[in-house]
Every structure is written in C-alpha cells, then in structure tokens.
C-alpha cells in the first residue's frame, strides 16, 4: 500500500495524544489530586490535546475532496472510519468539560463522580485508538492488516508514546517518578512484545493468484501467469496498491524501527532511571521513539499487500 505521510503522521501523533490523555485520567482515577498539582496536570492535558488535534488535522490532508470531510460522521453504524471521526469530535466537549471541572476543583465535593468521569475518559481515549486501528484491521482485502494484532499495536504504541511524554513532564517538574519508571519500562516492553507478535503473525502469504482467478478459469492444477496487464501506463490501482519496496529496504526500516522505537527508548529510560540521571537521555528517548514509530507506521503501509495485486501479476500477497 502506498504510505501517505499525512496518514502516518496522523496515526502516530493522535495515538500518542490519546495515550497521554488516557494515562493522565487513569492517574486521576487512581490517585485523584494526590499525585499531580494542577499546573502539571494542565500542561499534560494541553500537550495531549495538541498532539491528537495535530493528528486529526493532518488526516484530512490525504482527502481528495476535503470540503466533504464533515460528512465523515454519517455512517458510524457500519464504518470504523466514521466511528473514529465521531468519537474524536465528541471527545472535545467531554474532555473540555472534564478539564473545567478539574479547574474548579469539582472533585472536592463530588469525588466519586469525578473518579467515574476520569475512568470514562480513559476508556474513551483507548476506544478512539482502537477505532483508528480497526479502520485498517477490518479490511479483508489486505491480509497484513486483517488481524486482531493491528488495533492492539495501535493501542500499546499510543500508550507507550504517551507514557514517555508523561514521564518526561513529571520528571522535568521534579516529581518523584520512582514508581512510574517501572510502569514506563513495562509499557515500552509490552508494546515491543505486541509488535513482534504482529510481525510473526503476518509472515508468509495468505492469498495467491490461483485464488483470485482459478475460480473463474477453473484450471486448478495449472499455474496462472499474467500475460498483459491491459494498460499502457500507471493507473490509480498501480499508484495506490502497487507500492513495492525491496526486501532489503524493508529489513533496514524494520531494524531501525525496532531499535529506535522500542529498544533505544527502553535502554535510555533504564539508564536515566537507574544508572545516570540526565534529562538529555529522556529527550533523546522521546525523539527516537517518535522517529521509530513513524518508521513502524511507514512499514505498516509499505508491507501491506492488497489482493488486487494478484490480478496485476503478483503470484501471492
């Protein structure tokens, strides 16, 4: 599949933004008012909102007809894209009301209500990332996406990026991050585990040219080869689905994304927490993680092969 940069940027930043908000609200649910002072809380909330807003704006850049983008909420009963869109828009008033209630210290008299509200926002953020993943996972035409690992990856990576940012903001504001660093290392390790599981699950081809044509040609025992694709130049189909990358390049990008996205941040945070404390390591970890995740998302597209390629001469996808 053709990797559109706007979509890569959208999925990475909005995932990180919702991941950060989810964690923030989970912290509030567990230790309301005890852990974070108000200013830190609002810094985190602003960073998170800015990230997912940037992502959502970027997602409209790949539309060929953006003036109709407002219609994208109409078919939420069947379309994961519409579900993602409608939840993302509903999230704004819900989050702003929550932030306002935190601002006026509403929890002092209505502690249980605010706890429930925090948990609700936590669930909603995770649900939005889940919807983003399901946009891709629901497509039976792209076997590399059509797996339950896809939304799990989106959620764990969003949470892991959000955790990194939260850790950085807390550490920067001289909070005691001792209990939090174990959680952060676990979150990065868990996202790494789910990504590796994804790579293992998509190994090997699942459809071949025989499946695409043999039903109609009915010469099941013999091989089918493309003789002529029937067009003299590139088409929408070859542009959108014919994206092919050399195996060597895929391997290089995969190696980079695993090292930069998971192993390096884990090591740097470990060193920062237990060996040698330096905010520089923390900043480096966040930057590397973001670059690694952009590479990971690029790979997610570049590796995906649409079944229409079978009609265009691929022997398998």
């Amino acid at each position: 599949m053709h990797p559109a940069f706007s979509v890569i940027f959208f999925t990475v930043t909005s995932g990180a933004g919702y991941g950060l908000i989810a964690l923030l609200c989970l912290l509030n649910f567990l230790y309301f008012g005890m852990l974070l002072d108000k200013s830190t809380f609002f810094i985190c909330a602003t960073v998170g909102s800015a990230l997912f807003t940037m992502g959502l704006i970027s997602s409209t850049f790949h539309l060929a007809n953006p003036k109709n983008a407002w219609r994208a909420f109409m078919r939420f009963r069947t379309s994961w894209l519409a579900r993602e869109g409608i939840l993302a828009i509903l999230f704004y008033p819900i989050l702003f009301l929550y932030l306002f209630l935190v601002y006026i210290d509403f929890q002092i008299e209505n502690f249980m209500f605010m706890q429930a509200y925090s948990f609700f926002i936590f669930l909603m953020s995770v649900l939005i990332i889940h919807c983003t993943g399901m946009i891709y996972a629901c497509l039976k035409t792209i076997p590399q996406w059509n797996t339950f690992w896809t939304p799990i990856n989106y959620i764990t990576i969003g949470i892991s990026l959000g955790s990194l940012i939260l850790f950085f903001i807390l550490d920067f504001n001289n909070y005691n991050v001792d209990p939090y660093k174990y959680y952060l290392l676990a979150a990065i390790a868990f996202s790494f585990f789910t990504k590796i599981s994804y790579y293992i699950s998509i190994r090997g081809s699942r459809h071949n040219i025989g499946q695409a044509t043999n039903a109609a040609i009915k010469l099941k025992s013999t091989n089918v080869r493309l003789l002529d694709v029937g067009h003299t130049g590139g088409t929408f189909l070859t542009d959108e689905f014919g994206y092919k990358v050399a195996e060597k390049k895929l391997f290089r990008v995969k190696t980079f994304s695993i090292i930069s996205g998971f192993l390096a941040p884990f090591t740097l945070i470990y060193i920062h927490s237990f060996v040698f404390e330096s905010m520089l390591l923390c900043i480096l970890a966040i930057s590397l993680a973001f670059f690694g995740m952009v590479a990971e998302r690029w790979l997610f597209f570049a590796q995906a092969k649409h079944v229409v390629n079978l009609y265009h001469g691929s022997q398998n996808v």
Binding site: M74, T141, I217, L227, V229, V308
Partner: protein
C-alpha cells in the same frame, strides 16, 4: 431485482471494445467525466470503470490464454458501502446497483481499499471516487429502443461474451446461462457475494502428440527411392 453481468471467458477475445465503449458512454454519463490525465503526454493515464487483463495458464499442449474483463461486481455484501464513512457509497434497494454520490464523497480512498476487484478509481481532478454504474442512465432510458437498454459494454461486445440481466429472475438470460455453464464468482472466500458471474473456458479438445517411432522397412525403401530420384 439483482442486476449484474455474466462474462463468458470462452468467447472473450480480449479486444477491449467493452472498455472503450464504457469510457465513451460514461464520460458524459451520470458519473462522468472519466477524466484522462496527460492524454497526449509521455505517460497518459486516466479513469476506467472496466479493465481487461490477460492471463496464460498451463504448458503446451494444455496452454491457454484467458482474457479477463473486470468491472464492479455489484456485490450483495458490498464492503465498499460498509466502510464508507460519508454515505456517498450506496447500494440501491430496487436493483442492487452500487453507486457513488459525488456530492457526498470526500475522496478518502477507503472504499477502493475495501474492494478486492480494483473496481473503484479515484478521479484525481474531481476529487471523488468513480465506478461502474451498470449504465444506470441507459438501462432505464425509455427513449431508447428496448433492445438497447443494456450497459454500453454489453451492447458493443463483438463476440457477445457479455450478458446483462436480473439474477433474481430464474428465467432471465443471465440466470439461465450462468446455471447451464456453472457460473463462477471471484474471491468467494471473502464473502462479499459478488453478483457478476464468470463462465469458465470449456475443456479444449486434446491435441494428440505424435511420437516419432523407428522407421519401418517400407518407409526405409521409400526414403531410399526418394533419395535416388532426387539425385
């Protein structure tokens, strides 16, 4: 009604007349235009509703070339309609034709991703998705004589390899021909229940392979005589 096409792969000679007729009719039709990009440039490209690919199978003497026209299958469980967030993609209740409303389409390409047949193409100039309409602006046109109320591709096919009709009617031409010839659908395992059917090429007459055997005595004498005469 469940309108659709039957393509006879035994009759199709891969002449692309259906693709041209489709382009000609539909470029000024309801889903027009079928935009061309750089039509006289070095790398021309453009929007088509119907594309013909050519395949070869087997090895001599069982080899065969198969011409394979593909357009929208007007699936009963159309994934393109399911995934469309705007409601621009829809399937008509009355005849099962899958259409795009260009007034609603935002050009996100999601329906094209969901289609396993490559039936949808984005018009980059108009910014909306385009696809086969089964010539909806032709088949109901009462100004046309009855025998011409068919999709342009079916009308033009010089070998009558294409049939058009209602699959819900067991006595329609498409139902009869697809029953008789065991019509096949593409990618049945994806579960989208495509309406269009393909008639497989019938088994060819086996070509006898002549084995070259040791020449017998009569043959040897004849060869000798021929040689002498030639001298």
């Amino acid at each position: 009604m469940r309108l659709g096409l039957v393509v006879d792969l035994d009759k199709c000679v891969g002449c692309s007349a259906c693709a041209i007729a489709c382009k000609q009719w539909n470029t000024s039709g309801t889903s027009g235009s079928l935009t061309d990009y750089r039509p006289y440039g070095a790398d021309p490209s453009g929007v088509f509703f119907n594309r013909i690919r050519h395949y070869e199978t087997g090895n001599y003497p069982d080899s065969k070339t198969v011409h394979f026209p593909m357009s929208c299958m007007h699936c009963e469980e159309a994934a393109c309609v399911t995934v469309c967030p705007t409601g621009a993609s829809y399937k008509r209740e009355e005849d099962g034709i899958v259409l795009v409303d260009p007034e609603k389409c935002m050009g996100c390409n999601y329906c094209a991703w969901a289609c396993p047949y490559g039936a949808r193409e984005l018009d980059r100039e108009e910014g909306v998705m385009k696809k086969c309409t089964l010539c909806v602006d032709r088949i109901y046109d009462e100004n046309l004589p009855k025998e011409e109320r068919k999709p342009a591709c079916v009308m033009t096919c010089p070998t009558t390899a294409r049939y058009f009709g209602d699959f819900d009617d067991p006595n329609s031409e498409v139902s009869i021909v697809s029953r008789k010839r065991d019509g096949q659908e593409l990618f049945p395992e994806l579960g989208y229940k495509p309406v269009n059917q393909y008639l497989s090429p019938r088994k060819k007459v086996e070509i006898k392979q002549h084995e070259i055997s040791e020449p017998n005595l009569v043959r040897k004498v004849k060869d000798w005589v021929n040689k002498v005469v030639e001298l």
